[in-house]
């Protein structure tokens, strides 16, 4: 199958405008004839559901939590980018576009990224109209700050709770449509299967997480906004229920999975402390605006940070990258922290940490100013570690954070299954091999508020859709699949818990498919994962019953999918015989130990097609064509 991204022709800056003109329309009176399922109520899902309902479509919205407001977007801290140039520092749509493409190490689609940069400004306007309390200057105008990978201040923020405020905005819009009767809400529901009829996505099978009932829902289109799969590593900054299940099910029903090995490892997280640790906590990247990253100059220096004089400190990012300093992109910052720790210069009990020091910033701006900017982050740090960052430097270490990979989508955000769309972190679209800070919120909201509401109309206008109900045999078959998987999980009654398997899977992936990769390690990981998966299906223990509120069963299903998906990540990492952005294959590096791309052979996105259980997935590639930017070696020095 030839992948057609449906990127419109013409000048880059005019593509989206022209495309909107060319898109088929559904008249307001006819929209109520279409039912749309939206799975997920994060920024992408809530914004899409609300906007589609405002337009007049019938929406059914699904989420795992008890309320849509608790989707994982709520946890985003640092901010959201927009090309407003309010700071008058030379920003523009073009610069945001270029920074994002370059930050992604030239592995994303030009036209998509440009559109994202264009829409960034509309997002801020809309969010302010919704009442989102962004930070402001004394004159009453909106304030901005800078973020990694950029030399301008373009990040809008709401204390350290930007995601929360944006999501509460989108959630409120969604609630308004629920009250208006245009959205039906299904919370505490888990999508278990996608239903495809005549090659078109026509519904889902979901499990009611309170009663355990298996439900069927038919529709004219299905939108997946189910977030990222970082939890495949067990420990990550993601929420506990973040999962790959929904998009893996779609993959197995024909949607291609793109760049699964592109995992963002965030440089500033609270280090791991013990075996029972259940998650890692992010300390927003915005901290790198004022915090200075350092380690002792000499390995084995165990003095407390205060006793280490300036001359014995190595501010390794500032020294190595004078132009960007502490604000280099995430992949670069993470790799350098790891490198320092590998040299034995790491700090803390485990030696797997570096300092992030605010002493100079506090001296310069005063404690009050620093506390205004980062107060809640400092508080959170103290709660978790018991240390006070106003007095001792924070300790940080990289952790799995974001997944650039996801379902393949075309310019209309449609997957390879007609009628199945993917938005937000669940698709692969805009971040290439590394996402810049403050751009996921932007992408989720651009997809949901401003893209899908138009492009879905094109699908409806150009497609013959028979009336279908959930009486169709395809639904019955899907329900059967779901039930048999659940029964299997409950019947094994082995001796190892789900968490135990998950933890081990995470360890294998972190070791061999994490910040640095090599062929030998990847091949080893592949074997280990296969063995683990085999053992899982023989020896897992899942207590309780199916028709019940059963959190163990929920987890078991997700981990089963992670075990299957882990292998796909490895296959993808093996196939990409270059380094780019987050994907650092040790065999391909520059003399300065930076990721070395191979544009001749790998300037593409890798799209994997499911070929059956135990069979290698089929490889497809979408060649990336750059007409407007020149591919350069990224340099932040």
């Amino acid at each position: 199958m030839q992948l057609d991204a449906k990127v419109p022709g013409g000048i880059l800056a005019e593509k989206w405008d022209r495309h909107r003109f060319d898109l088929g329309l559904i008249s307001p009176a006819n929209r109520k004839k279409f039912d749309i399922i939206v799975v997920g109520t994060g920024l992408a899902g809530s914004s899409a559901s609300a906007t589609l309902a405002e337009l007049g479509y019938n929406v059914k919205a699904f989420c795992l939590q008890d309320s849509p407001r608790r989707a994982h977007s709520i946890a985003a801290q640092g901010g959201i980018n927009a090309a407003k140039n309010y700071a008058n520092d030379g920003d523009s749509i073009w610069r945001l576009f270029y920074d994002t493409i370059k930050g992604g190490d030239f592995r994303s689609r030009e036209a998509n990224v440009y559109r994202l940069a264009q829409l960034s400004n509309n997002i801020i306007d809309h969010c302010v109209a919704q009442g989102i309390p962004f930070a402001r200057d004394y004159g009453g105008l909106l304030a901005n700050r800078s973020f990694g990978g950029a030399q301008v201040s373009r990040t809008f923020y709401a204390r350290g709770q930007t995601g929360q405020q944006l999501l509460v905005g989108a959630f409120s819009a969604l609630m308004r449509q629920v009250a208006a009767g245009k959205v039906t809400l299904f919370s505490r529901r888990e999508m278990m299967e996608l239903v495809v009829i005549n090659g078109q996505a026509r519904g889902i099978v979901a499990r009611n997480m309170i009663t355990g009932e298996i439900e069927t829902h038919a529709a004219d289109a299905v939108i997946l906004a189910t977030g990222g799969y970082g939890n495949v590593f067990f420990l990550s900054t993601n929420a506990m229920t973040s999962n790959v299940t929904a998009i893996l099910r779609a993959y197995k029903k024909g949607a291609f999975f793109t760049n699964p090995c592109f995992i963002q490892i965030h440089p500033t997280c609270i280090p791991v402390h013990g075996t029972y640790q259940s998650k890692l906590t992010l300390m927003s990247e915005s901290l790198r605006n004022d915090g200075r990253v350092w380690v002792p100059r000499n390995s084995g220096d165990t003095r407390s940070p205060h006793q280490i004089p300036e001359s014995d400190r190595d501010y390794f990012l500032e020294n190595k990258y004078p132009a960007f300093g502490n604000l280099v992109p995430r992949d670069v910052a993470s790799r350098n922290a790891k490198e320092q720790c590998d040299m034995g210069k790491g700090v803390g009990e485990t030696g797997l940490a570096v300092y992030l020091d605010f002493e100079d910033a506090i001296k310069r701006d005063g404690k009050e100013e620093i506390s205004k900017k980062y107060g809640n982050l400092f508080q959170m740090y103290e709660k978790i570690t018991g240390d006070n960052p106003y007095e001792t430097p924070m300790m940080i270490y990289p952790a799995v954070h974001y997944t650039m990979g996801g379902l393949w989508v075309d310019y209309n955000l449609m997957t390879t299954v007609p009628g199945l769309f993917a938005i937000g972190e669940a698709n692969f679209s805009d971040h290439g091999a590394n996402r810049l800070g403050a751009s996921a919120l932007m992408q989720g909201l651009a997809d949901g508020y401003f893209i899908i509401p138009y492009t879905i109309g094109e699908y409806f206008a150009g497609t013959g859709l028979n009336k279908i109900t959930d009486e169709h045999p395809a639904f019955k078959a899907a329900v059967q699949e779901v039930n048999s998987r659940i029964n299997k999980l409950l019947s094994i009654k082995g001796t190892r818990t789900v968490d135990d398997f998950h933890r081990e899977l995470g360890r294998v992936l972190w070791e061999y498919c994490g910040m640095a990769r090599n062929e030998k390690g990847l091949l080893k990981a592949q074997k280990l994962i296969q063995q683990l998966r085999e053992e899982f299906w023989k020896n897992v223990i899942v207590p309780g019953s199916e028709r019940d509120f059963n959190q163990s069963l929920e987890k078991a299903g997700r981990v089963a999918d992670y075990l299957e998906f882990g292998e796909l990540m490895i296959v993808d990492a093996l196939a990409r015989r270059e380094s780019c952005g987050c994907h650092f294959n040790e065999a391909y590096q520059t003399e300065e130990n930076e990721a070395k791309r191979d544009d001749e052979n790998f300037c593409h996105v890798a799209a994997w097609e499911y070929a059956g259980d135990g069979i290698n997935p089929l490889f497809h590639k979408e060649k990336l064509i750059f007409e407007n930017v020149e591919l350069t070696q990224r340099s932040y020095r």
């Binding site: 914004s47 906007t51 405002e54 939590q65 008890d66 309320s67 849509p68 407001r69 608790r70 994982h72 709520i74 946890a75 407003k84 309010y86 306007d125 809309h126 302010v128 109209a129 309390p133 962004f134 930070a135 402001r136 200057d137 004394y138 009453g140 105008l141 709401a158 204390r159 929360q164 405020q165 509460v168 959630f171 409120s172 819009a173 609630m175 308004r176 629920v178 009250a179 929420a239 506990m240 402390h273 013990g274 029972y276 640790q277 259940s278 998650k279 906590t281 959170m380 709660k383 018991g386 401003f450 001796t495 818990t497 968490d499 223990i541 207590p543 309780g544 019940d548 509120f549 163990s552």
Partner: protein, 254 residues
């Protein structure tokens, strides 16, 4: 410094909303004081699972104090003993060796118990549906900087907007009132110029819905403020009352 402690837990166990439920005692040994409260329950649950028993059901997701999913009464206090802290951010260093800890779900007339420590808080969403929004459709918004808002106003609005909808205020209130939750939302929107056009309609609708859903009245006990993990102040309740009176007097929205 990390150390380990041994604990006795009395945990509310209830099969489903029809079950009567009751306390069960568990012993939790060698708990690292660096663990969070929920990680401590994870450890108990691993053991229960291996023993073939039903693990303790509890709501949680972000585990960093922002999603509002977690929450339980710990020794009679919503979210436990630490001020301004959600249950997931409560760490075991605040407990001592050989402590007995009593853990119960949120209890309120408007919240049903689903299982063990899991309560149904969907009534809070219904209150938002009644009017906790600014009615703007996507598209059509003017440039963001055309609306000037003083830093002070914006910060005050934020103090209300910081609510995570956890329901601790309701659980802690002797009347099971939702006034702090509603006050926080009404304040957030009423303080901002964007929220003013609908202010009267909003407050009337939200208060009416709150009453309909059987939340209690506020008698100024201030228990809500004491347990709120986001330290939302009861001045928001005072503002809610003012807005309500104002709406009653001056508007045609009754």
């Amino acid at each position: 410094m990390t150390k380990t402690i041994n604990l006795k837990l009395k945990v509310w166990r209830q099969k489903d909303s029809d079950d009567k439920g009751g306390f069960k005692t568990y012993y939790s040994r060698d708990i690292s004081t660096d663990m969070s409260f929920l990680e401590m329950i994870d450890v108990i649950n691993e053991q229960l699972t291996l023993n073939g028993e039903d693990p303790i059901a509890f709501d949680h997701d972000c585990r960093e104090g922002i999603c509002g999913m977690c929450g339980a009464m710990v020794n009679g206090r919503a979210h436990g003993p630490e001020k301004g802290t959600t249950l997931c951010q409560l760490h075991m260093r605040h407990f001592s060796d050989e402590d007995t800890i009593v853990v119960e779900p949120w209890r309120a007339r408007a919240f049903n118990i689903i299982k063990d420590l899991v309560a149904d808080r969907s009534a809070l969403d219904k209150i938002i549906q009644a009017g906790g929004y600014i009615s703007v459709n996507t598209g059509g918004a003017p440039d963001a900087n055309t609306i000037l808002i003083s830093r002070d106003t914006s910060e005050k609005a934020f103090d209300g907007a910081a609510c995570i909808g956890c329901g601790a205020c309701v659980a802690a209130c002797p009347n099971a009132s939702a006034m702090l939750f509603v006050g926080a939302k009404v304040s957030h929107l009423a303080l901002l110029p964007q929220g003013k056009p609908e202010a009267a309609r909003r407050v009337m609708a939200m208060v009416r819905e709150m009453d309909r859903l059987c939340f209690g009245n506020c008698t100024n006990e201030a228990e809500c403020e004491a347990v709120c993990p986001k330290e939302i102040s009861i001045t928001n309740i005072a503002r809610l009352n003012r807005e309500f009176l104002k709406a009653g007097f001056f508007s045609s929205t009754k």
